[in-house]
């Protein structure tokens, strides 16, 4: 066995998620075909691709919400057989429980039997603070803006203190300014929690802004086309030269024309 040259400080050195040759068909469409992918521990990995490329299916399969037809998915070396508290999920349309307040939604994740928090109320407060929702503890989801709803969604996903955060186009329905702010906040949370993040988006700018590595997928059948490591210091500026270069490169891989 060759000695590893990677330093132990490098969190990406260990594989956290391994997707091996996964295929999944729905009726007449091949959502995923022979997809293989690995995500390192603590890595921020974005999956981009056109609609219908199976990126959401792939994320749901990692979450254990969808069974692939063939292939296997390992998380921390163990095969995925269903949803688990080691993987938190943030949904595109928030999926908040409308009958529960902000605190109630967060408590939902804390009150499951698996939770071992000594003081759940304090932990809920801590999470509410982490996503900047102080003062809105008792608001119902209908009273919140899209951006605030997704903050609750993120806080709720963080409740079991998962090692992996799976995010399915989480900021797709919020306005551009709020999205920018949420990006910054998400990167802060990621820096604090040192989680592994898999983030699905169709927005190339968003992927380049956030990711350590961008996985580019192709549609019909859904497969991994290429992987691009983003080697830019954070915080990243959309107008910076290398940022623009990366975006152009990924756009070219996807076969999308340059926007005028």
């Amino acid at each position: 066995m060759a000695l590893s040259s990677e330093s132990p400080v490098n969190r990406e050195s260990r594989e956290k998620i391994t997707v091996q040759n996964v295929s999944r068909a729905y009726d007449s469409t091949q959502a995923l075909e022979g997809v293989s992918l690995s995500v390192g521990e603590g890595e921020f990995c974005c999956i981009v691709g056109p609609s219908g490329c199976g990126k959401t299916t792939l994320l749901r399969a990692i979450a254990g919400l969808d069974d692939p037809d063939t292939g296997s998915i390992l998380v921390g070396g163990d095969p995925v057989t269903g949803p688990g508290l080691d993987r938190g999920m943030v949904f595109q349309e928030y999926a908040l429980f409308p009958w529960r307040t902000v605190r109630g939604n967060i408590r939902f994740g804390l009150d499951r039997p698996a939770c071992g928090c000594p003081d759940c109320e304090a932990r809920a407060r801590e999470l509410i603070e982490l996503v900047g929702l102080d003062g809105f503890e008792d608001a119902y989801p209908k009273e919140l803006s899209g951006g605030m709803k997704q903050r609750v969604g993120i806080a709720r996903a963080l409740t079991p203190d998962p090692e992996i955060l799976l995010m399915d186009e989480p900021f797709g329905s919020v306005d551009a300014r709020t999205r920018d702010r949420l990006h910054t906040e998400l990167l802060d949370i990621w820096a604090q929690t040192e989680q592994t993040v898999v983030f699905v988006t169709h927005d190339i700018d968003e992927a380049v802004k956030l990711a350590d590595r961008v996985v580019v997928m192709d549609a019909e059948p859904g497969m991994v086309q290429s992987t691009v490591s983003i080697d830019v210091e954070r915080p990243r500026e959309r107008t910076a030269h290398d940022f623009v270069e990366y975006v152009a490169q990924i756009r070219a891989e996807l076969g999308e024309p340059e926007p005028r």
Partner: protein, 280 residues
């Protein structure tokens, strides 16, 4: 909130008040026109018992509370003396309330389970299709031969009426639970089916379940009066009893008593619903 928004929002409130006032006045106008038509119709109709006048009806209504009647409390068998109108209303409630509660409980329970469990749904769906269209009152023959047409028989009819309305409300409510919500719950550690039903499906279906129950409150009043026309004691029986003596004004008084009882229950339940569903 800025003061500017506050002053601006004053105007629609004022409009709203005027609009409401206009609506109330129109409603009052409708009632007055109805009373006039009724009055004139009663004056012109002979013999007079065919259409009792509004004034006679009001007098009959007041009379319902001027005399007292003793009724028997079921189960305990003790007797209870109440103003006549209230006494017969209480008799009705002795079979209306258990019929409604057990029917709603059973219907909601089965609806939730069938909506949630595919296998149970497969088993019972054809049976439900066959039994559902039978009007509750058609069961009166079995109510009579099984229980006799008294409180139990009437409660049985009400039970059937309440059962189906609540069954369909709960069934539809559970079927409509968003997949996103169950997905979210399962990533948060909800594993057992029963926990999912309790923590996600039931609260998510609550608006439909409560609407179903409110509908059944009204429907069961129709059914209970039907059952009493066959002889079970209560306000429905008193309607037909009074008309047998050609005391039609008393029949009208009991009709209004039913309307009043229903309105109180409906308003009460709407208030409860509004509180429980504040999140909507």
């Amino acid at each position: 909130m800025s003061t500017r928004t506050d002053t601006r929002s004053d105007t629609p409130v004022a409009y709203g008040f005027e609009g409401n006032l206009r609506r109330y006045l129109r409603g009052l106008g409708g009632l007055i026109v109805f009373l006039l038509v009724w009055w004139v119709g009663a004056m012109l109709t002979q013999p007079s018992y065919l259409v009792p006048s509004p004034l006679d009806s009001v007098r009959a209504f007041i009379d319902l509370f001027a005399t007292t009647t003793a009724i028997v409390v079921p189960v305990s068998g003790s007797s209870l003396v109440l103003p006549t109108g209230l006494a017969h209303l209480t008799e009705t409630l002795f079979h209306y309330v258990p019929g409604l509660l057990f029917g709603a409980g059973g219907g909601i329970g089965l609806g939730l389970l069938m909506g949630w469990n595919g296998a149970l749904d497969d088993w019972l769906r054809p049976l439900v299709r066959v039994l559902r269209p039978i009007p509750p009152l058609a069961w009166i023959v079995f109510a009579i031969v099984w229980f006799g047409i008294h409180h139990t028989g009437a409660a049985f009819i009400v039970f059937i009426g309440a059962f189906w309305i609540n069954f369909y409300a709960a069934y539809g409510g559970v079927e409509g639970v968003a997949g996103d919500l169950t997905d979210a719950a399962s990533t948060l550690g909800v594993e057992r089916d029963l926990s999912m039903l309790k923590l996600v499906a039931l609260p998510s279906a609550a608006p439909q379940v409560l609407t179903g129950f409110r509908t059944s409150i009204g429907r069961c009043w129709m059914i209970v009066v039907g059952a009493e026309l066959f002889g079970a004691p209560g306000v429905g029986y008193e309607i037909i009893n009074a008309s047998n003596n050609l005391a039609m004004a008393t029949s009208v008084a009991y009709m209004f008593l039913i309307s009043l009882a229903f309105l109180c229950m409906d308003i009460g339940f709407r208030l409860f619903e509004g509180r429980v569903l504040a999140w909507r």
